[in-house]
């Protein structure tokens, strides 16, 4: 059944071509039906593929050009449960976004569906690819579709600015990735990841450190990590709601699976003795990203920008999980990715409903105006609490696994930081919800700054459909932690993801992957620490939301001065972002150059 794998890419790309090419030949409803049908089909195919590789991963060679004498001459897809599972989530989110668009962007120009499908195909290709140049092409294809979708309502300045900053920073990141892969190709003479790892094994050098810095920072830019995250808030604040849902739920996370795949197939080999040195910098970046995202979310009044920072916060937590470099941490990241995708998509879709109904997504403008929206309020608060991770809800299981991973390394201090970051982002969302749905708190702007609302983009809105899509996404995201057997499966999948020896043998020598034992369907228990942290997070999130609703008074206001400076750094000017990109690459590169031998 490995023939299923290329279909995940071929089907959306072909449909996109038909939809875009047959634009003047077919009526609009055929195009929309084709788009939606393709989304459903890819979701089902990806789920079948994931089920197929549950026992052991497989390698698919395009055109049957397999390896000859241990040398990869073709291009392959490495199909294992984590990549295939990511494809399921990507396809599901795009499908929900397309269904939502039925009631949201009806009158929009027709390239919309083609662009969404293009992004879907490219993201699936990236999640499965085992060839570094193909990774580059898929990444650029997905990003390009993203730039066009961000600037979709180009009659306004905000979307144009967001799309331009998104395009410029990500295009540069693409060039940085290309430079890194050129250096790797020059050193190893191959573009295949497994072959690269095999050639570099035991041969660390300055060149490899430079190449690793370049490809990792490029992927972290796509993944919106500090200090490469600036574009994300600008772009996510202005794109149409369903597009935002796709960006926040799945596209940002592509950078993370890229880092994970490149680390475990390639860079683990030359830096085998220094794994912690590589991991510790990623860990620091992850924690800094998580905290910054949380703090910045608290300082926003524009709901989508707030959500963008909440995404950045959780991206940081997920990078932390990867940076622990163990199977528990990676499994935690994978599980958190699934629940985060559902919850964040639900929240972005909910902002679309507010925008359509009240013409604004500004926390203070909407103060108390959505009191009658009981269902929407339920979705909003449930999803926000799910993102904090109250016991056995939402991202809880992901947190629990990352906690276990940190404890196994003896880094117990990682756990409170990741929980605290999630609390900050969650408190921002709860505060906004309390203002909008209950009319609590005042309307004093203070540090939240001026209103940056854009003109509403929606016409012909169908509320039950929109609400249904948001509720479905939230329900999926909330229930992941209680799905029986998911923790064990994620861990075993992460284990085989990290097994470079087995992957090298099956990619270069055609040996089958080792078969994993049948796992039980049981809900995983969690450590005492995790339960305590989770309960504390629940209390703390309510407290922080309450305090931030009232605003700080008196001497406590001095706490806000650094926050103001932090906010001023996010200037919205592309040149500043490029400077940060350059500084980030130079800093991380020199840290690795001095610490890796």
């Amino acid at each position: 059944m490995s023939w299923l794998a290329p279909l995940l890419v071929v089907l959306p790309l072909l449909t996109a071509a038909v939809v875009a090419g047959g634009d003047h030949l077919m009526p609009s409803f055929v195009q929309r039906a084709l788009g939606l049908g393709c989304g459903v089909a890819v979701t089902v195919l990806a789920a079948l593929l994931m089920w197929r590789v549950e026992a052991h991963g497989i390698v698919y060679w395009f055109g049957g050009w397999g390896p000859r004498n241990g040398f990869a001459i073709g291009i392959d897809f490495n199909i294992e449960p984590l990549g295939a599972g990511m494809c399921v989530v990507i396809a599901a989110v795009v499908t929900v976004a397309l269904a939502y668009s039925e009631g949201y962007v009806k009158g929009a120009g027709r390239p919309y569906h083609a662009l969404m499908l293009l992004a879907l195909g490219a993201m699936c290709g990236f999640a499965l690819s085992g060839d570094i140049f193909n990774m580059f092409v898929w990444l650029e294809l997905a990003s390009t579709a993203g730039y066009a979708l961000t600037g979709f309502s180009v009659r306004q300045l905000g979307p144009v600015q967001g799309a331009i900053n998104f395009a410029i920073v990500n295009a540069l990141a693409g060039y940085v990735f290309a430079t890194g892969l050129a250096l790797l190709y020059g050193r190893t003479g191959t573009l295949n990841l497994a072959q690269m790892g095999a050639t570099l094994a035991g041969r660390p050098s300055g060149l490899v450190i430079v190449a690793m810095t370049l490809v990792f920072t490029a992927l972290l830019t796509k993944g919106a990590c500090v200090p490469f995250h600036f574009w994300a808030a600008d772009a996510y604040a202005v794109a149409p709601a369903p597009v935002c849902a796709m960006f926040g739920a799945v596209m940002t996370d592509l950078g993370l699976i890229g880092v994970a795949r490149l680390y475990w197939l390639v860079f683990q080999a030359p830096f085998a003795g220094d794994a912690r040195t590589v991991g510790d910098l990623l860990l620091a970046i992850g924690l800094a990203t998580a905290l910054l995202g949380g703090v910045m979310a608290l300082l926003q009044r524009h709901l989508r920008r707030m959500l963008a920072y909440s995404v950045i916060c959780h991206i940081g937590i997920m990078l932390t999980g990867i940076a622990l470099l163990g199977s528990k941490g990676l499994a935690g990241t994978a599980v958190m990715f699934v629940s985060h995708a559902g919850l964040v998509a639900a929240l972005f879709l909910a902002t679309g409903i507010l925008m359509a109904k009240y013409g604004s997504i500004d926390e203070l403008t909407l103060h108390g105006r959505a009191r009658s929206e009981r269902l929407l309020a339920t979705v909003w608060f449930a999803a926000a609490l799910g993102l904090v991770g109250v016991p056995y809800v939402g991202v809880y299981l992901g947190h629990a696994l990352i906690d276990d991973g940190a404890a196994a390394l003896g880094r117990h201090w990682v756990q409170p930081i990741t929980w605290l970051a999630g609390v900050l982002a969650g408190a921002a969302l709860l505060r906004a919800g309390a203002r909008i749905f209950f009319g609590l708190g005042g309307t004093r702007a203070g540090l939240l700054g001026p209103n940056i609302d854009q003109q509403p983009f929606d016409r012909d809105v169908s509320h039950p459909l929109l609400l249904g899509c948001a509720a479905l996404a939230a329900a999926l995201g909330l229930s992941i932690s209680l799905l029986p057997g998911i923790a064990q499966r994620a861990e075993s999948a992460a284990d085989s993801f990290q097994n470079r020896a087995a992957w090298t043998a099956s990619i270069l020598h055609g040996r089958p992957q080792p078969t994993r034992p049948q796992l039980p369907y049981a809900i995983a228990g969690s450590s005492r620490e995790t339960i305590i942290y989770s309960a504390a997070a629940f209390v703390l999130v309510l407290a922080v939301a309450g305090v931030s609703l009232r605003g700080l008074r008196g001497r406590a206001q001095r706490l806000l001065e650094p926050a103001e400076a932090l906010k001023a750094l996010h200037s919205g000017v592309a040149g500043d972002y490029i400077l940060w990109l350059t500084i980030g690459i130079a800093t991380y590169g020199s840290i690795w150059a001095f610490t890796l031998r």
Binding site: E140, T144, G151, R155, L157, Y175, A178, D234, A574, G575
Partner: protein, 114 residues
């Protein structure tokens, strides 16, 4: 094989980045991006260069003839295609920015920030 192509690739990249960081005009900024991108072409071609190697066309050529690496050339071509798409999109957006704000200066376009 001289070190010159690598030095010039680094130089082109640095010049392009400097231009992009200090740019006050989106069209200029888009062109700076293509300059940065050009550094990857130079780097790729330098990596695949073989002294006294011919073009990698093997029809009617003796087996074992020295040729430059064809892989980097196709990578460069793909790279160019990707970059043209992105630059075209940025230029189109710059046009929209000009229509909306009457300016292509990134500083005055910073509508959403903080």
């Amino acid at each position: 094989m001289s070190v010159l192509p690598y030095v010039s690739a680094a130089w082109i990249c640095a010049v392009g980045l400097y231009g992009a960081i200090t740019s006050r005009n989106l069209i200029h900024l888009a062109l700076c991006l293509t300059v940065v991108q050009s550094s990857t072409y130079v780097l790729l071609l330098a990596i695949g260069y073989v002294n006294r190697g011919g073009a990698p066309i093997f029809k009617g050529v003796k087996l074992g003839t020295r040729a430059v690496d064809p892989v980097v050339q196709s990578l460069t071509l793909t790279d160019i295609v990707v970059s043209v798409t992105v630059v075209a999109l940025i230029l189109a957006l710059a046009l929209d920015a000009h229509k909306d704000a009457g300016s292509v200066d990134p500083d005055t376009l910073a509508d959403v920030k903080g």
